[in-house]
């Protein structure tokens, strides 16, 4: 009986990598895009560790360790950048950032707006009883 073949681990790594690629190309939330990139790295890590086992070579595991370290740095910086971008446009949508297009192209915009959530039914109100008090509007009060 042989152990689980190297081929199997490689297939799983490849599948995970591709899932991450599809997600990166598809999702529009900046953070989710980044997570998909991380998933690609994870697929690669699986590959590396499998090779390390089947070749008896520690280099694979060491490289995986470095991948973790680099992923951490990458996450830090990218989150910082995402925060700055968020502060600009108040949204995590990556499609808002199209300024590097050709000067005579129109920006690509969404055609269908999100369906507005149904208006919540108004809360029941009590009928007015008695007299309305005379209110003296105060300054600096914003209601």
């Amino acid at each position: 009986m042989t152990p689980v073949s190297l081929e199997s681990y490689l297939l799983v790594g490849a599948a995970l990598f591709t899932l991450g690629l599809v997600g990166f190309l598809t999702r529009r939330n900046l953070i989710i895009m980044f997570l998909c990139a991380e998933m690609m790295l994870q697929g690669v890590a699986i590959n590396l560790v499998a090779f390390a086992r089947y070749r008896g070579n520690m280099g694979g595991q060491v490289l995986t360790l470095f991948i973790i370290a680099v992923a951490a740095c990458e996450a830090a910086i990218s989150l910082a950048l995402i925060l700055v971008l968020f502060k600009r446009r108040k949204s995590l949508d990556v499609s808002l950032w199209q300024d590097l297009r050709e000067p005579d192209q129109d920006p690509i915009e969404d055609e269908e707006p999100l369906p507005t959530p149904p208006r919540a039914a108004p809360l029941p109100t009590l009928p007015v009883a008695g007299r309305e008090p005379v209110s003296v509007p105060k300054e600096n009060s914003h209601v």
């Binding site: 081929e7 899932l19 939330n29 989710i32 997570l35 991380e38 060491v62 973790i68 740095c73």
Partner: protein, 361 residues
């Protein structure tokens, strides 16, 4: 083209199913067919797992491998297709845990622990924090849509299909497997009659069919290798070569066994599984170079165990020990580089995120 499909169908079928699954399940404005996508995804996963499972391995390892792989792939699917970003991030955690399981199966306990602690523990939590800060309203416009789902899926799954096919083609040993099994039994043969029975030798034929078929499957053999193997014909008296009749029988069977071991090693090497330098002189594997720091290095790969005919695996149990030693000796410079990188990233993140001057326009 048709030939390709016929050769690779076990890989292409789950790929196609997975493509359909992601396409349908991807978030759309007017609601995505999540259920259909999930079913297709399940189907893809099932086929994939079945394919992976068709191997000759210890059932424990096989079971664990399949479970972890399934969980990883399912978690990946959820990350890609779930509308709510928080759920997606959490399913990514699931992916990480499953792949850590795979790490453990591959004899990397330290990595498993490190990944869970650092990756799932620190990095993902940071992501979730930022998500919380940024998108308090829940699902936003951005999350509900996808960009070019069809083309993206197409691109990804073409890539996947190609990758899987390539991997399969490289590592496909199913044809070679029976020959290697015969060679392994040859290694353990007791006498010439048994050896001849194993190999189904026809003494009247001019050459050994076993060897002829083997040459076809292993086209990259060098002339020296073929010379080694051809001695099999001599010892087994194929073609009525009777020159060797004077040599002692015991000697002959010893030679036959050695050749069997050689063939097994060569076969495994062709399958790119192992890379042993086998010295045929005494049947024991001799390391080419000894790493002074102990533990395995690339110079001493595992070889075939002559007693059982199984490949000898030599991953050291003292995993942390070896990793540590490698890091600080062989890979010292990359470690220092990574340290600098971490420092710079820290400073950078602080500087970039800390800007409060240019905020709103």
């Amino acid at each position: 083209m048709e030939r390709l499909i016929r050769e690779f169908w076990p890989m292409l079928l789950p790929t196609a199913l997975g493509f359909a699954a992601v396409y349908f399940a991807a978030p759309r404005v007017r609601g995505s067919k999540w259920a259909l996508g999930a079913m297709l995804g399940g189907g893809a996963l099932a086929v994939f797992i079945l394919r992976l499972g068709m191997m000759n391995a210890i059932w424990q390892e096989r079971m664990l491998f399949l479970i972890f792989s399934a969980v990883a792939l399912a978690g990946g699917f959820m990350l890609v297709t779930h509308k709510n970003p928080a759920y997606a991030a959490l399913s990514f955690t699931l992916v990480i845990i499953a792949s850590c399981g795979l790490f453990l199966l591959n004899g990397a306990p330290f990595l498993m622990a490190a990944t869970i602690i650092i990756y799932a523990g620190a990095i993902l939590v940071t992501f979730l924090f930022v998500l919380m800060l940024a998108q308090q309203a829940g699902i936003s416009d951005a999350d509900a849509r996808t960009r070019e789902p069809f083309l993206a899926c197409l691109a990804g799954f073409i890539l996947l299909g190609a990758l899987l096919s390539v991997i399969q083609r490289t590592y496909d040993q199913r044809k070679l497997q029976p020959f290697l099994e015969q060679a392994r039994r040859l290694m353990l043969a007791q006498d010439l009659t048994e050896a001849k029975a194993i190999l189904v030798v026809d003494e009247e034929a001019r050459s050994l069919k076993f060897l002829d078929d083997l040459y076809e499957l292993m086209p990259n053999l060098s002339d020296r290798d073929r010379d080694e193997m051809i001695n099999l014909e001599v010892y087994l008296a194929v073609g009525n070569l009777d020159e060797m009749s004077k040599i002692d029988e015991m000697r002959k069977i010893g030679e036959v066994r050695k050749i069997g071991e050689f063939i097994l090693n060569k076969g495994l090497e062709t399958g790119n599984l192992f890379q042993p330098p086998v010295d045929l002189s005494n049947g024991k594997s001799k390391p080419i170079a000894q790493s002074p720091f102990g533990g395995t290095s690339s110079a001493e790969p595992p070889a075939v165990d002559p007693k059982t005919g199984r490949p000898r695996e030599r991953l050291p149990a003292a995993n942390v020990d070896v990793i540590g030693r490698s890091l600080f000796t062989e890979y010292l410079i990359p470690v220092l580089g990574a340290a600098v990188l971490l420092l710079v990233a820290t400073i950078g993140a602080i500087v970039i995120a800390g800007r409060t001057g240019e905020v709103l326009r």
